[in-house]
Symmetry: C2
Subunit: 452 residues, 2 copies
């Protein structure tokens, strides 16, 4: 893939790469719909006010304004900007349409988002996210925190990617623990714990003492919590051994045990309780999820999310939610750059109908129409070049079959179809012939399936 | 549809409306792929320079810039703006990737575009277009002008919309005719002819004389040409009767006759030669298409396009193209506002698995997994409310079936499924039960099919 795009951070795929991306998108849609999630799309733009409500990411936001702006434009509707995720727009959508939705409302949303970040591997300025969320009106049973993990495990398992691990933690567990040891500024502690992988335990311990005012013992306890990582609910015992007691901690332990217990039974090896996870704990209020591809940990999380006690609210109503978001472009970029999967051909066409002479174009269209009626993607040659040239054209495009129609001197019509890979050519009836199932559509082959 | 969106010109659909839109998008994709077109997506942004190359629509373009822009930003990559169609981005894509594409290159592209126009019925600021084009390297046989008309007739025929007519004209025909009668400024004549429907023939005749300097006879001839409209190739005879002779005119007559002759045979009544069509003739170089829904002519064209002798070019290479673009949002808005079609239910789910008690959630997930394995969209109740409440929840969401699992005192498990529309409840096996085919997916019912 020596090809570079003309605008850094805005990836574009070649047709055969796009087939892989579409396979991923189709697969996600199928899983989400099988789990009863409705599709929603929101507009690409929000008001700047709406986008910046949750915090300080304004540097990353792309503003939008007409090149020849009236003075009225922003006065009328506020300044506009491109959405940087699908959560903020969805929260607005829920508030605006809550009278038309049935709660708990299950939606998936697959759209592009934009962030003006410095482009680098795994980070684009325009990229596709695939979100699922369940939103309640007033309350939302905790069970959805379990269910959403299972939905995403299903969704990721169906993709042509390496094994993955869903890491789960819980804000209540962490915050309750910190309070239990006398550290009340949970966000500050989490900020330091978040640096563990980068700077190591010793440096974090020093920071906790210098920046957060922890004692050496408090720092050690916080680090001991962050060291716990189990594939089952044994983390509960491990936390108890640290001898900290706090009501919120107990609530968090019970919640995380429910997620990990159920998920580890239903999808063994796909989920871990990972008490070092700090990212996201500052804005989620309970469960928090992130996901890494085994062997590709440095790519960062490919599927993250959590529980918001207040995803959205109107004056009167509160809407709690839980959900996760897959970084589709990040996944597809990795799939393509590491040749984890490839399209079986670069075009949808299974058949090219060759032209015997220029006058046969309309008859060739009849053949194509008959084939398409049975779902066989077909194109017709535009000019009656030599058959060898027409076959080479099919070859270059990866079309497996070329169709020949000949009209005898007595006006009788005969058809033959050639598999240009084997060279085998056989008589065929346009109203009945069927290609082998594996040739009907362009498919996506994973490395294991790849005959090459 | 009393519901209004919070940002004028940026339509958003409710889940049941989105199902109709998805049906339209899926149907278009299917048709395009059956005809051998590859999917391509381009980034949402282009450089302003790229977007404004073709003319003076800068008022409609949305510029994009980071809210906290570095001085470097636009210096490095030029000012950015949202694309306002899919043709300009596709032309750039072809130039950038021509070494990786096989020509003639057939692509479809379904994406949102943005225009800062005043919102009104049929005109949004954010809307979806579905384009098909064939692009050649150096040359592109005229046959594709015929084929592309047939592709779009197929695509539109599969949608839940009223009968439509594809109107076709040809730039060479019009320009050749005008030259033949001594009017050399074809664009100026076309600008006046374009006003025919709005201001009438007399006013256009006056304008042709006042603004273009035509004689009364020239004006009458130009209007006589624009009055020709035939469902077959008889327009050729009608033009000849006007007694104008010009080489370019002959070329245009032959081309238009080929499109209309073939299309009227293969799709009777769907195509007309309409010599009044002037819009687009200034930038297309041969065939030009537009499409109206019968009875909804005031909606404007829902599918337009034409032939460009130079869709794109590099220093060395020229890429001619022919293609059409469907205004998906315009169509979907009309389908919904006139109730031409509706979703059979608002959610994908065919089955809600009820909870007997809170402890049965995991067993209910087993049932759901078994159903999903056979492609049956299923959700599980989150709490063990009274059955009546769980059934009402399914009812409100339009889910046709509710599943009940009971565990006997001896540990034996039995399953029943209830069709909540008929009330019929029967024993069922989660590994074998199948809903009626019409209930498997949310489907889209047209007015005729609608039992309501």
């Amino acid at each position: 893939m020596a090809r570079t795009t003309s605008l850094s951070g805005f990836p574009e795929w070649l047709p055969e790469e796009r087939i892989v991306e579409q396979h991923v998108l189709d697969s996600l849609r199928r899983t989400f719909e099988l789990h009863g999630f409705s599709s929603v799309e929101t507009r690409a733009v929000e008001t700047v006010e709406q986008l910046l409500r949750k915090g300080e990411i304004d540097k990353e936001v792309y503003g939008v304004s007409r090149l020849q702006q009236d003075e009225n434009d922003s006065a009328k509707e506020g300044s506009l900007a491109l959405h940087f995720d699908l959560t903020v727009p969805f929260a607005r959508y829920v508030v605006e349409n809550n009278g038309y939705l049935t709660f708990p409302f299950r939606r998936y949303q697959i759209q592009k988002v934009w962030r003006g970040e410095r482009p680098q591997e795994g980070r684009a300025r325009e990229f596709t996210q695939a979100d699922v969320d369940v939103v309640g009106d007033g309350t939302l049973p905790f069970r959805y925190d379990v269910e959403l993990a299972l939905v995403m495990i299903d969704a990721l398992s169906a993709l042509p990617i390496p094994p993955f691990v869903l890491r789960v933690n819980n804000r209540k567990l962490a915050e309750g623990f910190y309070r239990g040891i006398g550290l009340d500024d949970a966000p500050a502690v989490l900020r330091e714990i978040d640096k563990l992988e980068k700077i190591g335990a010793d440096a974090v311990a020093r920071n906790l003492q210098d920046a957060v005012g922890a004692t050496g013992e408090q720092a050690r306890a916080a680090l001991a919590l962050a060291a716990i990582r189990t594939e089952d609910t044994s983390f509960v015992e491990r936390v108890r051994e640290l001898g900290v007691s706090n009501e919120l901690l107990e609530e968090g332990l019970a919640e995380l045990a429910e997620v990990v217990g159920e998920a580890s039974q239903r999808a063994p090896g796909k989920v871990v309780a990972d008490l070092s996870i700090a990212r996201g704990l500052d804005y989620y209020t309970g469960t928090v999820y992130e996901t890494v591809l085994v062997g590709h940990e440095q790519l960062g999380s490919v599927c993250s999310g959590g529980r918001y006690e207040s995803l959205a609210s109107t004056g009167k109503k509160n809407f709690p939610g839980v959900g996760l978001s897959i970084g589709v472009t990040r996944l597809v970029t990795r799939i393509l750059s590491q040749s984890m999967a490839r399209a079986s051909r670069s075009v949808p066409s299974a058949v090219l109908v060759a032209l015997t002479d220029d006058a046969s174009w309309s008859a060739a269209q009849d053949v194509a129409t008959a084939l398409r009626a049975r779902g066989i993607a077909t194109e017709v040659a535009a000019t009656a070049q030599k058959f060898g040239k027409q076959i080479r054209h099919a070859e270059r495009r990866g079309i497996p079959f070329v169709w020949f129609t000949t009209v005898g001197e007595d006006g009788s019509v005969s058809h033959e179809v050639k598999d240009i890979r084997s060279g085998e050519q056989v008589p065929a009836d346009p109203t009945a012939w069927q290609p082998p199932a594996e040739d009907l559509h362009a498919t996506v082959l994973t490395q294991d399936q790849d005959p090459a």
